[in-house]
Symmetry: C2
Subunit: 314 residues, 2 copies
């Protein structure tokens, strides 16, 4: 096998990568033509896209190719789930230096497939180009299966706010890596790729969620989007929110505030949704706050004083 | 208005860009949520993606932001047309340096819209991230409107090969710019953004095209894809192919071989298709060769000796 993607050549590499992607039933035409064709029996398709840049969203010395592939897929599949839809397919563009190891590209492809396999989605197309750094762009498609899409707008005064998934883990993992450590492993792995509760998205829609989004910018920032779009205020209760044990522990070791990580850390791709107060929520949906009249996001009734979320151009 | 995208901030910039994108009828939910929702009455959606990297696919001193936006859209919309489908929507990811001029980003958005307007497509979503260079990734979606998709496979011995659109223009424009010139303007503009005959794609499908693809890598390379997938040989006839006058003229000035540009130049996004020999083709579809038994691509019955197409990792 040639050492670098340049040695191997674009077409041979595309063939090798494509061979790693089995095609699911809705794929009427997979990779290899000008475009793919996907069956959309619902008559509506959910579409989202996200880009990851080396040095900003991942480092190749902190994340392996499989992690980067999984994360790139997960971020987008998660956005589909956050609409109440089931992810069906992704397309992937990879920009990479000519001297990138062929093995890196192939393991990256394995990561894409692995994450797609978790939801039964197929990798139906892509592009590979040269660049000075690795840039990954994924577009994910999904099927609402007859459900109404759950938007960010729709939360109502009196609703409860609930979360499914992890908060603060990816941020804790990032801080661990930043200090030069490689453990605790669970946190480091949470930074490398989120563990997304995909099926909780359609589940929330079926339970009558009034608004939903995934937590990619940080809980306060993303709940802020729901509050703004819905024209309501959200009050997060710290006593209900809690901090998961591994996050609390490492924050103690590093002398950091774990609550700040839980409130503002991004990249865990938990799902946050609002529900009518009387909704009987399954255990994995933890109520963490209430929707009130007003605007903005409060924490225990007060504006949060710490840093809030991150900006992608900083 | 702030000078740089970093000054303006991610969310304000996204709002300003999004305001430039009117949403067409099939868009059930446009930009601004976790994902968009697009109506797909046909029950099948065509999907394709392409990435453009600064310094590889465009130079910011040779192409303005509107050109880059138009070209990024055009390359993808063209792939949709090459399936015999009508483009309906695109998503766009833009990686850009923090000091990128806000005006650049907004004019880039105008270019996306301008090209989408040519086919009635909408910009339904996107992402903006920081990077050392400008990288654009577009995914385009399309509607087959009941047609059968026209694949690269399907050309049959005895078919004619026909082209709709320009060949060699973008390559001539690139050579002009490479020599430090800014004219002839028509050629330079052809490099900056192709003039794609979008509606010729569905037209070809309706006329019974047996195979089709768009010419993005160069005529010989792309016809080669059809030959390979279809298990046939294609013989291109130079006397039928011809060279457009502006291309011939500037080749004379630069001491270059215009036929090489026509045969191997990329980025014009003409459509090349094969049809049963008895098909009555409209004037804009020029017959340039024949499908024969065998394999590979010949030019006037001989293997072509010049350079053939380009590779993206070189």
């Amino acid at each position: 096998m040639p050492d670098s993607v340049a040695d191997m050549g674009e077409f041979a590499l595309i063939d090798a990568v494509t061979a790693r992607f089995p095609q699911g039933r809705p794929v009427l035409l997979g990779p290899g033509d000008d475009a793919a064709v996907l069956a959309v029996p619902d008559g509506r398709v959910v579409v989202t896209t996200d880009m990851l840049v080396e040095g900003r969203h991942f480092r190749r010395d902190w994340s392996g190719p499989r992690d980067v592939g999984r994360k790139a897929a997960a971020q987008n599949l998660s956005d589909v789930a956050a609409m109440g839809a089931r992810p069906t397919a992704i397309t992937v563009s990879l920009a990479a230096p000519a001297d990138l190891d062929t093995g890196w590209a192939l393991e990256f492809a394995d990561g894409l497939r692995e994450e797609c396999d978790r939801v039964g989605a197929s990798v139906i197309g892509g592009d590979m180009v040269g660049a000075e750094m690795v840039v990954v762009s994924v577009t994910a498609l999904g099927d609402l299966e007859g459900r109404q899409a759950v938007l960010r707008a729709g939360a109502r005064n009196g609703d409860v706010v609930a979360v499914c998934g992890r908060l603060g883990w990816a941020e804790a993992g990032l801080k661990v890596l930043s200090r030069g450590f490689r453990s605790p492993r669970a946190l480091v792995e949470a930074h490398r790729c989120p563990d997304v509760p995909y099926d909780a998205g359609p589940e929330a829609a079926d339970m009558g969620a009034t608004a939903m989004c995934d937590v990619s910018d940080g809980l306060l920032a993303d709940v802020g989007h729901i509050a703004e779009r819905s024209g309501v205020r959200v009050d997060i209760r710290l006593s209900e929110l809690g901090v998961d044990e591994p996050v609390r522990e490492i924050a103690g070791v590093l002398g950091a505030d774990p609550v700040a990580w839980v409130l503002t850390g991004g990249d865990d791709n938990a799902l946050v949704a609002t529900f009518p107060a009387e909704t009987a929520l399954p255990e994995r949906w933890r109520v963490i706050g209430r929707v009130e009249a007003g605007s903005g996001v409060l924490v225990d009734g007060e504006p949060y004083a710490g840093p809030s979320g991150h900006t992608h151009f900083s």
